[in-house]
């Protein structure tokens, strides 16, 4: 082969290789038009959404809470990176119109028509403000939200106008006066800033709202002609929480990014002497592991029905921590922000400082600081509400563990041998006495 021909061959191989590479990058997983159930379910704190593809036969939701089931036609594809079927909602997203039928055994328990719904909550305290509107109520709630938002927007405009006017007036006074001659009384009053708008709302959507008591059901969709929609039969497991309480995420000062959770009421936290802990309380609920996990991720393969799972919700608002030492000292600690500052030098290290808004951007974390001194071998911590009442389930014991006594633990393991030696000695003595008596 002559050099120009060889060059041409090389070029063609390179080009075809590049083309393949380009094709490889552009490759997408094949889509399939299917019937799925999209769910918006109460997760113990707020609402979470999930998609149940055709090969998942059971839907899970919490009992006696308003949940949303939205049967849809969409395009799904398998995503090998997460081992999940995903929906391409942008390509196809059609709500299936008709009636959602819920059966308990062979009895039709409920037939739900397609309805409007709106979910609203205050971002500052989602659990206590969460609200879901159904039908006409949904439209009213959304209209009220729009009105409030419009009023907020108007207030914001007015504030910016007032702020602008204030600055202009201030500039004018400063430019027309000699330094140090302005009477503070003559200064304009600065306008009050408008607070954040923390109310959140969804747009009115159409779906099938469902609130059911605990139990096992079967659901299916019937279209407007009364015909059962293919692939729409699913099991529906409605479950209740098993227990609720107050959890603490405990941040040790020396490992602030790796908190440990104390989820069991009346639990014990064992610590090294001299440690400083930051306690972050939150509401918690105990659920069946399989039911809760599959509710949020219908394609999960790890959860098991014979296990339970504590779920930590939102941080507890407006509380103080009462710390009682072994010596009877009682102190109340309030929630504070803390800032983690890296130490200078090439080695790793940091220090935790109390957050100061004037010199620091934002706090790294918040918590109740508990300094464990050498005077007290154990502490009792419990949460108090705004009125100073003890919050049930918030009590924990913090004990200083004697971690340096490992050798003594091993020595203690020899206790049975000591007892055995004593028994053997007594036995030998008894035998000797019998022998002496027999000889005598």
């Amino acid at each position: 082969m002559r050099p120009p021909q060889r060059l041409a061959l090389l070029l063609s191989i390179l080009i075809s290789g590049l083309a393949t590479a380009v094709v490889g990058h552009a490759q997408t997983e094949p889509r399939e038009d299917v019937f799925v159930y999209a769910t918006t379910v109460f997760d113990g704190l707020a609402y979470s959404s999930a998609m149940t593809p055709p090969d998942v036969d059971t839907i899970y939701m919490i009992a006696d809470r308003q949940n949303i089931i939205a049967p849809r036609r969409t395009m799904i594809y398998y995503w090998p990176i997460t081992n999940r079927y995903l929906a391409d909602w942008a390509l196809l997203n059609e709500v299936v119109d008709g009636e959602l039928e819920i059966y308990q055994g062979s009895e039709l328990a409920r037939s739900v028509p397609l309805t409007d719904y709106v979910i609203q909550y205050d971002g500052a305290n989602p659990l206590e403000t969460l609200n879901i509107g159904i039908g006409e109520e949904a439209l009213r709630m959304r209209a009220a939200f729009d009105e409030l938002f419009e009023a907020y927007r108007q207030a914001l405009f007015e504030y910016y106008d007032a702020e602008q006017a204030y600055r202009a007036a201030l500039d004018e006074i400063i430019s027309n006066s000699e330094p140090g001659t302005v009477d503070p009384e003559d200064l304009p009053v600065r306008p009050e800033p408008v607070g954040d708008f923390s109310l959140q709302s969804t747009e009115p959507n159409k779906a099938y709202p469902v609130s059911l008591p605990e139990g096992r059901y079967e659901i299916l969709m019937r279209d407007s002609n009364g015909i059962v929609v293919p692939d729409s039969r699913r099991e529906l497991v409605v479950f209740a929480r098993l227990q609720s309480g107050i959890a603490y995420s405990i941040v040790p000062q020396s490992r602030w990014t790796q908190p440990e959770d104390s989820v069991f009421p009346e639990g014990v936290v064992y610590v090294e002497p001299g440690a400083t802990l930051y306690l972050q309380p939150s509401r918690e609920s105990l659920f069946n592991e399989l039911y809760y996990t599959r509710m949020l991720d219908p394609q999960d393969q790890t959860a098991r029905e014979d296990r339970t799972r504590w779920v930590l919700h939102d941080p507890f608002p407006n509380t103080r921590l009462r710390v009682t030492g072994f010596d009877g000292t009682v102190r109340e600690v309030s929630l504070k922000g803390y800032f983690v500052q890296q130490t200078a030098g090439s080695g790793l290290g940091y220090e935790v400082l109390e957050f100061n808004p004037e010199s620091m951007d934002r706090s790294s974390f918040e918590g109740f600081a508990v300094q464990l001194d050498g005077q007290n071998p154990f502490y009792r911590v419990e949460l108090l509400d705004e009125a100073g009442r003890l919050l049930l389930g918030s009590r924990r014991e913090i004990r200083i563990l004697n971690t340096d006594r490992g050798a003594q633990v091993y020595a203690l393991g020899l206790l049975p041998l000591v007892i055995g030696a004593v028994v053997a000695a007594v036995r030998r003595r008894q035998i000797r006495q019998v022998d002496t008596r027999t000889a005598g």
């Binding site: 090969d55 997460t82 081992n83 405990i250 040790p252 020396s254 490992r255 440990e260 959770d261 104390s262 069991f264 639990g267 014990v268 936290v269 064992y270 610590v271 090294e272 440690a275 802990l277 394609q299 393969q301 790890t302 098991r304 014979d306 071998p377 154990f378 014991e397 004990r399 200083i400 563990l401 004697n402 971690t403 006594r405 490992g406 003594q408 633990v409 091993y410 203690l412 393991g413 020899l414 206790l415 049975p416 041998l417 007892i419 055995g420 028994v423 053997a424 036995r427």
Partner: protein, 286 residues
């Protein structure tokens, strides 16, 4: 003085015979070194677990636990119960091997008294070991500054029920297996199978959780099969029942607590009656 009714006299004689066997077997255990060595080994293994907790706390700064002493107690119960069950299996089957069982049953001892006597002997030995374990756990609590809990004493009492199942099962296998060696092999294999399923289940669950498996992942199938097997085994294995009873005690779930105790006691009775039945059915010779 009116003579006792025949059935009452019969049971009194039986009890007397069982008690004599119990005294002889338990004394033999107390005056030997076996139980002291077995318990020392189990407490040293439990000490490894305790030390692991101490090292963890030292490096991790904190350790959150409801009752850190339950695991060492469970370890101690498993090791001592397996030892005692093996001893009772050997004791019972070797009586048959050596022909002494035949001689014994010619006298005032019947199969029921023989089984009951041997069973009570091992329970008495375990009760003494549980007392040592109670002292050990209290000294440990003081030494490490753990929270004192009456639950530890309760769990040690409940462990008697678990141990009674293992010992009764050992005797059942002795009657079923015939010769000492065969009985011991049966006992070891069945114990390993039951404990193995539970251990494998725990390990596979951990591996599955650390991955992001798909529906068709073979590990998920293995996990599901083991899960079903473990679902059955947990009602058969006295160790699982003891563990569940421990958790129920901490959770103050008293109906579940007494259910697990009831299951263990029921199993022990079934194995004991089964042993008597096998002895009568198979006879005193190989």
């Amino acid at each position: 003085m009116t003579p006792a009714r025949p059935w009452l006299r019969h049971w009194r004689d039986r009890w007397h015979a069982a008690n004599s066997i119990q005294r002889r077997a338990s004394q033999s255990a107390f005056f030997g070194w076996g139980i002291y060595l077995a318990m020392t080994v189990s407490l040293l293994i439990a000490a490894i677990s305790v030390n692991n907790t101490l090292n963890f706390t030292e490096q991790n700064v904190l350790f959150v636990s409801r009752q850190p002493i339950f695991l060492p107690i469970l370890i101690n119960t498993i090791i001592t119960s397996v030892y005692l069950a093996m001893v009772s299996t050997l004791a019972v089957s070797s009586e048959r091997d050596q022909g002494t069982l035949e001689t014994l049953l010619q006298g005032p001892v019947d199969g029921f008294a023989f089984i009951l006597g041997n069973f009570m002997a091992q329970i008495k030995v375990y009760a003494a070991l549980a007392l040592v374990a109670f002292v050990w756990s209290n000294v440990l609590t003081y030494l490490l500054h753990l929270r004192y809990s009456i639950g530890v004493a309760v769990v040690l009492v409940v462990s008697l029920a678990a141990v009674s199942v293992v010992i009764a099962f050992g005797m059942f296998v002795a009657m079923w297996g015939g010769r000492s060696r065969t009985a011991l092999i049966y006992f070891t294999l069945i114990t390993l199978l039951v404990v193995g399923i539970q251990l494998a289940d725990q390990i596979v669950v951990g591996v599955v959780i650390s991955q992001n498996p798909s529906v068709n992942d073979p590990l998920v199938t293995v996990r599901n099969v083991l899960g079903v097997a473990n679902g059955i085994v947990k009602w058969i294995s006295p160790y699982s029942q003891l563990d569940l009873a421990m958790n129920a005690q901490v959770d103050r779930a008293y109906p579940a607590f007494f259910t697990h105790i009831g299951v263990m006691l029921g199993q022990a009775v079934v194995f004991l009656l089964g042993s008597v039945w096998l002895l009568e059915r198979k006879g005193v010779r190989d």
